[in-house]
Subunit: 323 residues, 4 copies
Amino acid sequence: MIKIKHKSRIDEDMGFGKNPTQNNQRLLNKDGSSNIKRKGLPFFKPHEAYNSLIFMSWSRFWITISLAYVSINLFFAMVYFGIGMQHLTGSVSHNSLDKFLDAFFFSAQTIATVGYGHLSPSGFLTNIVAAFESFLGLLTFALATGLLYGRFSRPTAKIIYSKNMVVAPYQNGKGYMFRLANLRSNQLIELSIEVLLSINVMESGKTTRRFVPLKLERSSINLLTLSWTVVHPLEEDSPLINLTPEDLMGADAEFIVMLKAFDDAFSQTVHSRTSYKASEVMFDSKFAQIIKADENGIYEIDISKVSEYEKSFESEKPAFKQS
Amino acid sequence: MIKIKHKSRIDEDMGFGKNPTQNNQRLLNKDGSSNIKRKGLPFFKPHEAYNSLIFMSWSRFWITISLAYVSINLFFAMVYFGIGMQHLTGSVSHNSLDKFLDAFFFSAQTIATVGYGHLSPSGFLTNIVAAFESFLGLLTFALATGLLYGRFSRPTAKIIYSKNMVVAPYQNGKGYMFRLANLRSNQLIELSIEVLLSINVMESGKTTRRFVPLKLERSSINLLTLSWTVVHPLEEDSPLINLTPEDLMGADAEFIVMLKAFDDAFSQTVHSRTSYKASEVMFDSKFAQIIKADENGIYEIDISKVSEYEKSFESEKPAFKQS
Amino acid sequence: MIKIKHKSRIDEDMGFGKNPTQNNQRLLNKDGSSNIKRKGLPFFKPHEAYNSLIFMSWSRFWITISLAYVSINLFFAMVYFGIGMQHLTGSVSHNSLDKFLDAFFFSAQTIATVGYGHLSPSGFLTNIVAAFESFLGLLTFALATGLLYGRFSRPTAKIIYSKNMVVAPYQNGKGYMFRLANLRSNQLIELSIEVLLSINVMESGKTTRRFVPLKLERSSINLLTLSWTVVHPLEEDSPLINLTPEDLMGADAEFIVMLKAFDDAFSQTVHSRTSYKASEVMFDSKFAQIIKADENGIYEIDISKVSEYEKSFESEKPAFKQS
Amino acid sequence: MIKIKHKSRIDEDMGFGKNPTQNNQRLLNKDGSSNIKRKGLPFFKPHEAYNSLIFMSWSRFWITISLAYVSINLFFAMVYFGIGMQHLTGSVSHNSLDKFLDAFFFSAQTIATVGYGHLSPSGFLTNIVAAFESFLGLLTFALATGLLYGRFSRPTAKIIYSKNMVVAPYQNGKGYMFRLANLRSNQLIELSIEVLLSINVMESGKTTRRFVPLKLERSSINLLTLSWTVVHPLEEDSPLINLTPEDLMGADAEFIVMLKAFDDAFSQTVHSRTSYKASEVMFDSKFAQIIKADENGIYEIDISKVSEYEKSFESEKPAFKQS
């Protein structure tokens, strides 16, 4: 059974309650988001709409705003067409489709405030709609300006974590290890990390979930220049000492990783989270080397290999552990 | 009479002075703003105007800028009309209203920098005014860009608090409880909360108001993923022990809640405040369950029911208290 | 002579060195800026230009950008005029001044991207210049967008300090006091203040300047809702005990005030500084009341009277001191 | 050999590992960036592209966006030309080059949303492309707006450090000193500095690199108004005591400087780093005076002379050390 020694900090609360997990269910997803469904939220939420435009992927973003642009123009084209094409001076098309296209292009020229003028509005209604459309156009592009700036300037850590934890040789014993590196060229400074073990334990005859902070070889570094191999040494007071892979799986263990750093480029504190389930812990393995120094002593790191590990059957020296 | 035990922190200053309150008067409004009138402020305050455009509701915002757009165009239409419509090449209207409308639409095409050109300025004065108007238009929409970005990107906690406090069964006794949840999908991390009791007490024959910090079961959590039921246990050293609803009302008690968190999406510290008056405390009640786990163990929270509570006549187990 | 008791914190360093001041010379100006001349700076400093556009007054700002707009248009008008007016299709003016005005208005229509089209470029050179000008125009207004947003969104405390310090009755003795209030409607929270006394002292036969932190009745408050009267009580260990106005003047005393707060509206830490010279300390005075409660118990503060004080000849109760 | 006394903090980790350096190789470049090569990064990185546009020099920035503007217009000119010039109403040029130029200028008028209208699109394809181009143009300039704002508003310390460290007379002994000043007119407050000595030492027969924090005369100041001479006194417990220039060179010493401050203008924490290699330490030298007070006692600092030093052969008084 799992033994938990340093009781004092055991009450760490992750905001997940104490109900035991089951079926290898994650508390935190790999990308650090939490695994919760929410309902009963208010329907109209401008901030949520904005945030989802900020946080969606670039490809979805471009598709969304392109579709919005086309839709708005289709809508206004229908309005101009409905009012009557005789109010669009310069439209000399004869069939309906061409007339509608004229209305569509006039709309595009109006919303983007190009206004060539070979098509121009006449009559009260068409003029009012065109005035409104150009007003809307400017506001829409004002919004787009904010969205693009917001997407780019959002200070975020883009940390790559190794896909697995390994239990590798460490000093005279072993240690649980995972590895991380900075995917951005921004300098990250003043990094600190915390690793919590979420584990089902038996307490007074009932299964309950506990969060136990794990002691780390080093929980902070000044600069993240290369990679950082975070190590929990398997010392005597570790709750993981002598646990087999089966014990870990049985207790539905999850390692919750919380990283905090200061982004030097944007002068803001950033956070990153991830988690490792018991099934992602590789016993008797060690990480592959990803750092080498060239003949001038300049370090080079191959970030694509952060997750690479190899089996280590005998008790060897620890994997090259930079910082 | 109210007893206050832990004197040491009694001097907590809320910036409200020590005059007793009366008539169930709030110090803090439900939305966390303070209940103060200010006069003698300078008349012209660009920042205040900007801030009010940032903080007003969306409907007021759209009405305000639409009215501003129409007003500016009316103003410039009058100027063009006053200078003389013969200087608006392309205006072929015959009656004054149509001419004015031409001036209005020309203004709209100028300020939005559409410039179709079927109406164009001629003569020195009209040209100068049009040049100035397009300059103004660009600055105005520059401002609108900033306003829209400012409205959306302002980092704010959008916390929903239960409408009432309840005095519910807690462990072997009771506790004052309120509940909160995050209305946004932004992750809130590193939350900490402080609850101050503002209460009228008798001191050397004079009624004065005191602020007493209340001891909480837990004053910080790592992540706000579900809801958080904040509990002040009714232990022996609580200033609220043995107080009846009438005592609370008589002392014009107010519970001032101050929450601090880190918004993971925008990487900024956010604050939220609210308060509960004595009349909003429900004795012998408990909150309704709003969290359930589906068959896969994934939690679901119904945020619309955060305020729901039910009467609890016997001393039961505490309401399901997630974190 | 000035006695300084609590030696431990005497070494507080303000970054001004230890040379004694003279002639009532300030270290900090009233607005919190420091009184230093700097030379030898690099000549071209884009950030400084930007910052000065951010920090200049609104009237100077509008004049600066209006002049810039006119100057740029004059410059391009000269270029178009120099290339030849025959390349501005639509210009039918006959004399040179009118032709130049056509060029000027064409430039304005180009840089603001209005482009009515009654004037249009022809020929390679005029076309290239027009294409460049519209490009420049968009970038310039992009810059203006940033400037306007930057001016408005800059998180700053706008604190009004009383013009004078007073030495007023306080509890059973006296205290040095000044008063401050928030000019903005933004909520300021978690305020903390530090007051340093800068004073010339005799040490081993040499006059040198020392910075002594003054003990305050209260150095932090939760919320700044009304005004805050900051008090240094004249207790036995105060370096100011028994000092006469002449002593203060002779030692060229300056009280340096440093305030730190969290702006709730913009979620950022803000700072404010000011200073009081010996000549600005009013002995035997007290501040006028500026807070009153209406019949419903709602407080009202008259911010225009923050600096008002009155002579207090007898030892009275302290002036109404809200927090 | 290098002696390291205060073992406790010796484990300071810079994120550079413990491999000894060689050949006078820097860990930190003079501008504070680290000396690392990274490979294996994902190919498409929008944030990196954005960041490089934020961090590149102004001249490169202007060249980049100008080239982009010309390239995009060339591309669209080719598209319009390819579709057929008969669809550009108003183009009356006869030879191919002039026709292509018409297409180019039409593109420029479209992307900048000028739209004079003497050239206007006709036909489905040309109209669609023009509608797309104006859409793209608005987004591009939205991006430019964000870029310009981002470049200017990025909160950064612009600290000038003296090019060299000097070993100068200090009190009754000597000290390692370097000097810094603020290149910006922004007020920097709450400065703190840390200096780490990176040095190769012999440990159990193996050369390894150690990081030793150096004790400073003063590691923080309230305001950076003039310059700041940072001093490591050569006291008995200094790891540098009695070291000759040759010792320093032999151990491939590097002094790593990390500065943290609060930028008062933008209300944000800023960081700055630099390093000094052994070869940049000037023994028996002292910094030239750069501060003087005029007849009114107002200080003046000549920032262009921050790096100036002079040889000091006898043991003199320390160089004028402001703060």
